[in-house]
Symmetry: C2
Subunit: 489 residues, 2 copies
C-alpha cells in the first residue's frame, strides 16, 4: 500500500509538502517555523555536504567554526547589512530561568538580563570579519579562505519545509584577498563550484547570473546566483556568491601591509548554499508516485526485494542476493536487501518508489530457474530482465545513464518552458508559463512595477547575456540585453 500523495496537477504545493513528509525527509516541529530533518532526508543532505565539502577543499578552503551569537552592535557596523538582516531575527535577552513562584514551571529570571542582547546568527559576516581583523596583518596572511557548516536563523513569517524555515542548515564561505581581482575571481569560482554541483550531482540545470541591485545581498557590491526551474515552472535560487568589495573590511577595520609596505583594506567574498537545495532536488525531478533521486545523491542506490512464499525459497534467493550485494558494494554502490516478512512485495515497491531509490531489483524462484532477475528504474519505471552474471555491469551503466537522463529531462523541460517576450502584453502572458527573457531598462522602478503587476521578478542578468540593443518591455527605454524574469520561490 503506497502512502498516496496528491498529484502535481491537483495541487503542486500540497504534493510537495506531502511528499516531503511521507517520504520521511522532514516534518514541522512544535517550534514555530523550525523543521525536523528526518533520517532519510538527512542522509541525502549528508551526501550533498560531503560532496560540496570536498569541492571546497579541492579549491583551497579550510573549515572553521564561529559563534552562534552575534552581539547586537556588530550588526549595525555595516550600514546595508543591518538593513537586510537586523529585522527578523531571534534575540537572546536573558541567560537564566528560575522556578516559577507556584512551582509549576520555569520563568525567565529578570535579574539575568544581558547587558547587550545577542542575535542568533542570520549569517556570519560580522562575527567572522571581527575575527579576521586579528588574523590578517600582512599580505602573507592572504588569501584567507574559510568555510563554515552551521545552522542559522531568520524569523520568517511564512515557512515551508526546506524552502523557507526559521532555522536552516547551510555552509557559508568567507574569504579575504589582497586585490579586487582576486576576490572577484574567487566569487566567480565559487559560483562555478555551485553550478557544477547542482548540475552534475543534483542533476538540475542552472542559469548563472548576477542579481540586480535591489536583489543584492545586504552588504555586497555584486551578488552572483544560480537559478533553476522547478516543475511548476517557477524559479528557485539555488546558491549565491557575493563580491563584498571592501565593505566589511572597512566596517571591521581589516587591513593588511602590502608587499610594498602600504596599509590597505582587504577585499572580501561570501557564498552559501543551504538545505533549500533539498527543496530544489525534490521539486525538480519527483513525480506523482514520489521522489526521483539522481543516483549520485541517493542514500540507497539499489534495493533488492525478494519474491517468495516459503522459507526455503527465501534462503535460495538470499544466497544469490548476497553475492550480488557484495559485488555492488565492492563497486561503491549502496544496496539494501529488504527481506522483511512484515510487508508484501507490492507494498515495498510502492515504498521505494516513494523514497526515490534509483534501481529496484526483484527476484523470485522463477528468476532463479532462469538465471535472471528483474530491474526497474525509478525515473521511467521501465523494467528489464537481466542475466545474473550481468547485474553489476547493468546496474553501473543504469546509474550513469539515469544521472544523465534525469538532468536532460529537466533541461528539456526548462528549454520547452523558456520564452522571449518583446512587448509587455506578451510578457504578461508568457511569464505565467515559465522563464521569460526580456529587455529591461536597468531601473529599480521598472523592476518594482513589473513585480507588483505580474509577481514576476528579475531572477538574474545572465552571465552569458547576449549584448543586443533593445527596448525595455515595460518602459520602452533603451536596454543593452535581455534579463531573466520568472515567478520564484
Amino acid at each position: 500500500m503506497a502512502k498516496a500523495i496528491p498529484t502535481r496537477d491537483e495541487d503542486y504545493s500540497l504534493w510537495y509538502n506531502e511528499l516531503v513528509k511521507k517520504a520521511g525527509l522532514a516534518e514541522n516541529s512544535q517550534v514555530r517555523g523550525c523543521m525536523v530533518i528526518k533520517p532519510y532526508g538527512f542522509a541525502i543532505w549528508e551526501k550533498m555536504q560531503r560532496q560540496l565539502d570536498q569541492m571546497f577543499k579541492d579549491t583551497g578552503h579550510e573549515n572553521a567554526y564561529f559563534p552562534l551569537f552575534i552581539p547586537k552592535s556588530f550588526l549595525s557596523r555595516e550600514a546595508d547589512h543591518v538593513e537586510g538582516f537586523a529585522k527578523e531575527c531571534a534575540v537572546v535577552t536573558h541567560y537564566r530561568l528560575k522556578t516559577d513562584e507556584d512551582k509549576k514551571g520555569v520563568v525567565v529570571d529578570p535579574d539575568a538580563k544581558l547587558e547587550e542582547e545577542l542575535i542568533v546568527r542570520p549569517t556570519s559576516e560580522t562575527v567572522i570579519w571581527d575575527s579576521y581583523k586579528n588574523w590578517i596583518q600582512s599580505y602573507r596572511d592572504l588569501p584567507l579562505k574559510i568555510n563554515q557548516w552551521a545552522n542559522v536563523v531568520r524569523w520568517e513569517l511564512r515557512t515551508r519545509l526546506f524552502l523557507r524555515t526559521a532555522e536552516f542548515l547551510w555552509q557559508e564561505g568567507h574569504t579575504a584577498h589582497a586585490t579586487q581581482q582576486e576576490a572577484v575571481e574567487e566569487t566567480e569560482q565559487m559560483l562555478g563550484v555551485y553550478a557544477d554541483f547542482v548540475e552534475n550531482f543534483m542533476a538540475v540545470p542552472v542559469i548563472k547570473g548576477v542579481k540586480t541591485p535591489s536583489e543584492r545581498f545586504a552588504g555586497a557590491v555584486e551578488t552572483y546566483c544560480i537559478e533553476a526551474m522547478m516543475q511548476d515552472k517557477k524559479a528557485l535560487q539555488s546558491g549565491t556568491s557575493h563580491f563584498l568589495g571592501q565593505n566589511f573590511a572597512k566596517a571591521f577595520n581589516v587591513t593588511f601591509a602590502s608587499k610594498e609596505g602600504k596599509e590597505e583594506f582587504v577585499w572580501g567574498t561570501s557564498w552559501g548554499v543551504s538545505t533549500r537545495l533539498m527543496g530544489a532536488l525534490i521539486m525538480a525531478h519527483s513525480d506523482d508516485d514520489g521522489l526521483v533521486l539522481p543516483p549520485k545523491l541517493a542514500p540507497i542506490q539499489v534495493v533488492i526485494v525478494p519474491i517468495y512464499k516459503t522459507d526455503e525459497e527465501l534462503s535460495k534467493i538470499t544466497e544469490v542476493v548476497d553475492k550480488i550485494s557484495s559485488d555492488l558494494k565492492a563497486n561503491g554502490i549502496s544496496v539494501k536487501f529488504d527481506d522483511r516478512d512484515t510487508h508484501k512485495p507490492g507494498w515495498k515497491f510502492a515504498e521505494y518508489e516513494l523514497k526515490g531509490v534509483p534501481a529496484r531489483i526483484a527476484i523470485g524462484p522463477r528468476d532463479l530457474e532462469n538465471g535472471t532477475l528483474e530491474i526497474a528504474r525509478r525515473d521511467t519505471k521501465e523494467k528489464s530482465i537481466v542475466e545474473l552474471e550481468n547485474v553489476l555491469n547493468y546496474i553501473k551503466d543504469l546509474l550513469d545513464e539515469m544521472q544523465k537522463s534525469i538532468f536532460n529531462k529537466a533541461l528539456d523541460f526548462r528549454n520547452e518552458n523558456t520564452y522571449e517576450a518583446n512587448s509587455y502584453d506578451e510578457f504578461k502572458e508568457l511569464v505565467e508559463k515559465g522563464f521569460v527573457y526580456a529587455h529591461w531598462d536597468g531601473t529599480d522602478e521598472t523592476e518594482e512595477k513589473i513585480k507588483e503587476e505580474t509577481k514576476a521578478t528579475i531572477r538574474c542578468i545572465p552571465l552569458d547575456q547576449k549584448k543586443e540593443d533593445g527596448k525595455c518591455v515595460f518602459s520602452g527605454n533603451p536596454s543593452i540585453g535581455r534579463v531573466l524574469f520568472a515567478k520564484a520561490y
Copy 2:
C-alpha cells in the same frame, strides 16, 4: 623562531591556554564564553567526527537534525531534567529588532515579544522525545537509533577553551527501545564505542564506570562515563552514556503497541561527546614545545622541510620530495611540503613541533648525495637517517609505533599516579597526587563532605570494580568496593 609557550611546570593552566591559541586551535571570541574554532583545530575535530560518525553508523545509528530552540514549557516536563538544565541557558524572548530612534543602531522591538520564550538547546532530549511521540506506534518502529551533530549552549560563568564554553559542538545520540534490557545494552555499547575511540584514536586510556546518583545526568536512571587522567593528574570526563529508563517516555507520552498488543512506554538512552575531547587530546599528550598528536588524528601526518641555499638545490630536492609525497599519499598518509622561502628551516621545525605534526622529514643537498634523509618523530624528538627507498615503510611503521607509544606513555603515567587509600589522612595526601581508589559508604553526604574538604569528587564506580568488603575512608561505614576519586576538570 617558535612562538614560545610557558612550560607545564611553570603554569599548567596557562601552558594549556597559550598552546591552544598559539597552535592555531581556537581562541576566545568577542561573544562572552563562545570560542572560535580555528582551521587547524577544526581539522582535528573533523577527523574525530568522521571516525565517530562511522562508528555510530556501524552500530546501526542514523543521523537526523532537530530544532535549535526548545519551547520553555518542554523543559519542565521531566522534573529532574528541568532542575539540571533550566538554570543557565540562553533565552530568546523577541524575534525582531528595529532602528533606534536616534538612527544610530538597532534596538529590540518591544512589539515583537514571543508568547512563549524559546531556550537555545542545552541538550535535546525534550525536543527529540516530543518528535518520537509521533514516530513510534508499534514494536515495528523500534529500536529507533538516532544521532545528531549539533551546537548546544550552556551559560557557563567560568569558561576555558574547549573544556568549558557557553556554546560547544557535540553529538547526541537518542535511542528508544522496546525493553529495558535492550536499552541498557545500548547504553553500554555506546560507552564501549566511546572508550574504543578515545583509547585507539585519541590514544588516551580511560576508566569506564557509572556515576554516583548525585552526578547523574538530569533525567537519567544511570549515567555511564569514561574518565581520563591529564598530565596535571586531574581527571577529565570524556564521554557519557545515559540509561533513561522510561522517564522521557512518560514525560512525553511515548508508548508503543507490543507484539502482544499491549500499550507500553518505551525505554530510552542518550549519549554524547563534545569538543571537550579536544581539550583531553591536547592536555593528555602535549609537551612544553607544543602539541603532540596521535597520528590517527593529525591533520598533517608528515611535513617535509627542504634545506637549501640555491634554487637549483631546491629544484633537485623537490624532484625527490614529489616522489616521496605521492608514495605516502597513495598509502593514505597526509603530507605537507613546506617550501616557503619566507621562513628558515629552524623556524619551520619549531612551528611544526608546536602544531604536533607526528613526523618531520628534513632533506638537503648532502642527503641527496647520500641517498638518505632525516626523519624526526614529534613525541620523543628522536631523529633517524633513512635511505630514500625505505621512506614509505619507515613512515608507515613509525606512525603505527607512535600511535601505540603515545597511548602507552599516557597509560604508564596514569598507572604511576594511581593509588589506593585506606585512611582519610592517607586519602587527603594521595588525592593531591593523582587518582585514588578508596572505599565509600554509598551516601551523598559523605561524597559531598569529601568534596568540600578535599575538592576531590567520585569520578565513577568502575565497571570492573572488585567486590571487596571494606570501610568507608571518610565515615568508617561498610563499603562493598573501592570507587575512583580525583580532582577533575
